[in-house]
Amino acid sequence: MKKKSIRKLTRIEGDGQVELIRENGIVTDARFVISEGVRLFEALLAGRSFHEVPDMVCRICSICSTVHKVAALEAVEEAFGCMVSRQSAILRELAVNGGVIESHALHLYFLALPDYLGVAGFQEMATTAPELLQRGARIKKCGNLIQEIAGGRAVHPFNLVIGGTGSSPRKDSLLSLEDELESVIEDATSAPEIFQAGNDRFPELPVFPFFAVKGESRLSGDTVGLSTGELMTAASFRSWLGESAQEGSCAKVCNFGNSGIFVTGPSARRGIENMLDETSSPRDLSDDRKSPRQTVSPYLFNLHRAIELQQSLDRALMLVRLLLEEGIHEEKALRLAPRKSEVTKVIEAPRGTLLHHYEFDRDGVCICADITTPTAMNQAAVGISLRKLVQGMAGAGYGEIRSGCERLVRCFDPCLSCAVH
């Protein structure tokens, strides 16, 4: 007899479940179900002026609010043919890196680390591993500080506005940020070491081809690079990225035509950068060693997240120094003249490639919004990985399999508010 048992997922953003199928008491299959309530952002935006778009879409998700905002700002500006000042562009890149730091630190030290330590959450860590928790908190706080200085607030950064920046940061706050970054970079040196072990408790998992934005800066551009070597333009996304509603899930599932299932995220970014560093790979990860540049495995997601945490800290420090070197100017945000246009932007969010597509009429009214998030892109891969995990754990008890599934889903650091939106 088949029985379904549903387990609410914890230590992730948003509302989702793992559904375990049991036949005669034995777990035979698992499914990833996203049950976050639908807010229908794309429909809410239709018919509203372009002014509303960035401030609304950042409310899709708090952890990714900066990157949603920047994606929408860049889209609106490109649609109406406007280039923000160099200073504003630097501040935005800084804010996006701040978002990566905060998101990765939250995931690694607050949400994932309890799995490695065998505790329920950060609350227990405060007594069993206070030093580690504090270190994570310091790194996370630094990511927030960056977003506050550039964006005015860590969640929903209002200072990033259409046409530029509301007000420029003060020199003294950048100087203290520089100090803070220097000391937090120290805190983060141990991150890869902490997060390279632990997940090798999993049985063999599938590997996936991958993709990430390939652009001038690490996190944004107009082109997406695939692990197969192909390059896709953002503008032609409908030809390579499909999305369809799926029975039982509140989030649409992405597909990549006939090319199979791809993943996006930290490992994908590192792969696309051709920077997969074999020496830092953990033990016994033969799949990844054989062809480091063609596939990625969920085993390595946290490790790569930890390495990226360091990269974003370094990048942020570099940007802060650049701002200080070039001197801060008071600037006025540019005014935009709307025109009929269609625009697609891709940008790397902490969880992977984020795509914003808009169409505006000649008065700047948004007539179509289409947002595709990394968690939707990874949804199919999560499903396959879960199924493979259950097969690999055949014979294990229900509790063990269930917690394995939870841990595996967490490796993807899914963001369910984003996935559904």
Binding site: E13, G37, V38, R39, A43, L44
Partner: protein, 258 residues
């Protein structure tokens, strides 16, 4: 000292209110000393509501049957139920199209006729249960959250700000974006307490803390339109957090599955 038993839950929202709590990095050790976050799925594995809670902070709007069930359950078990953030207090930014049937909106996004998950119009928590206290803002100010927890230990509720964003703004000696720069600043209608966060950085207030105690919408509309803003533009921006601005006012419906 007794540790307060607290539940932190999220209904439909962006998790920004819960995240702002987790963003109180400096205060977390003290917070944990005084409060036991017994139920906090975003940050901890436990998923069962056990026993009674001194307070439940509920983020997000009410938009699913599952959420309603959880909310009722939390209400029953908690001495204080707190609407945590703009979505919980008023429905938030996602309630701006409650004038259109959900099915119609859903068709634009998903194509089919059924709303995935059976979602209904985003509604404030108070449309379904008794709410004891509001922590406003999108996201709320850290200081407001900490003040609530300090009050919880001391056995009192904080006194909500009864001022305007304008008052905070003037007390910080900012120039007025509405009067002097002709911008669409909603500080004249918005409940204070954020220390005029946005106008202090030269960005007009979008009203995220919700409507002030006593407001004059007619006069504000007159000033905004004298500044050249169309009625549509005003109601779009104003509508993000103020239901009063929406063209079609609609009473929040209580959804009762029973």
């Amino acid at each position: 000292m007794k540790r307060e038993r607290v539940a932190i839950a999220g209904l439909t929202g962006c998790s920004g209110c819960q995240l702002t709590l987790l963003d109180c990095e400096d205060e977390l050790p003290l917070l944990l000393k005084n409060a036991d976050f017994d139920y906090f799925p975003m940050a901890s594995s436990g998923i069962a509501l056990k026993g009674e809670y001194d307070a439940a902070l509920v983020e997000g709007c009410l938009s699913t049957q599952e959420g309603l069930k959880l909310l009722r359950n939390l209400r029953e078990k908690s001495r204080l139920l707190v609407a945590f953030g703009a979505c919980a207090v008023s429905g938030g930014v996602t309630a701006i199209r409650n004038d259109v049937p959900r099915e119609e909106l859903s068709r634009i996004v998903y194509g089919g006729d059924a709303v995935p998950g059976g979602g209904f119009e985003p509604a404030p928590l108070a449309s379904a249960v008794k709410v004891d206290f509001d922590i406003t803002g999108c996201p709320p100010e850290k200081a407001d959250i900490l003040e609530f927890f300090a009050g919880l230990s001391a056995g009192v509720l904080p006194i909500p700000a009864r001022t305007f964003v304008c008052a905070d703004c003037r007390a910080r000696e900012n120039i007025c974006l509405l009067a002097e720069k002709g911008e669409l600043c909603l500080g004249v209608l918005t409940r204070g307490g954020c220390n005029a966060r946005c106008p202090s950085m030269n960005v007009p207030c979008e009203g995220c803390r919700g409507v002030a105690e006593e407001t004059n919408f007619a006069e504000a509309m007159a000033i905004f339109s004298a500044n050249g803003f169309s009625a549509d533009r005003i109601s779009e921006k104003g509508g993000r957090f103020f239901r009063e601005f929406l063209h079609e006012k609609k009473e929040y419906q209580k959804t009762d599955p029973d």
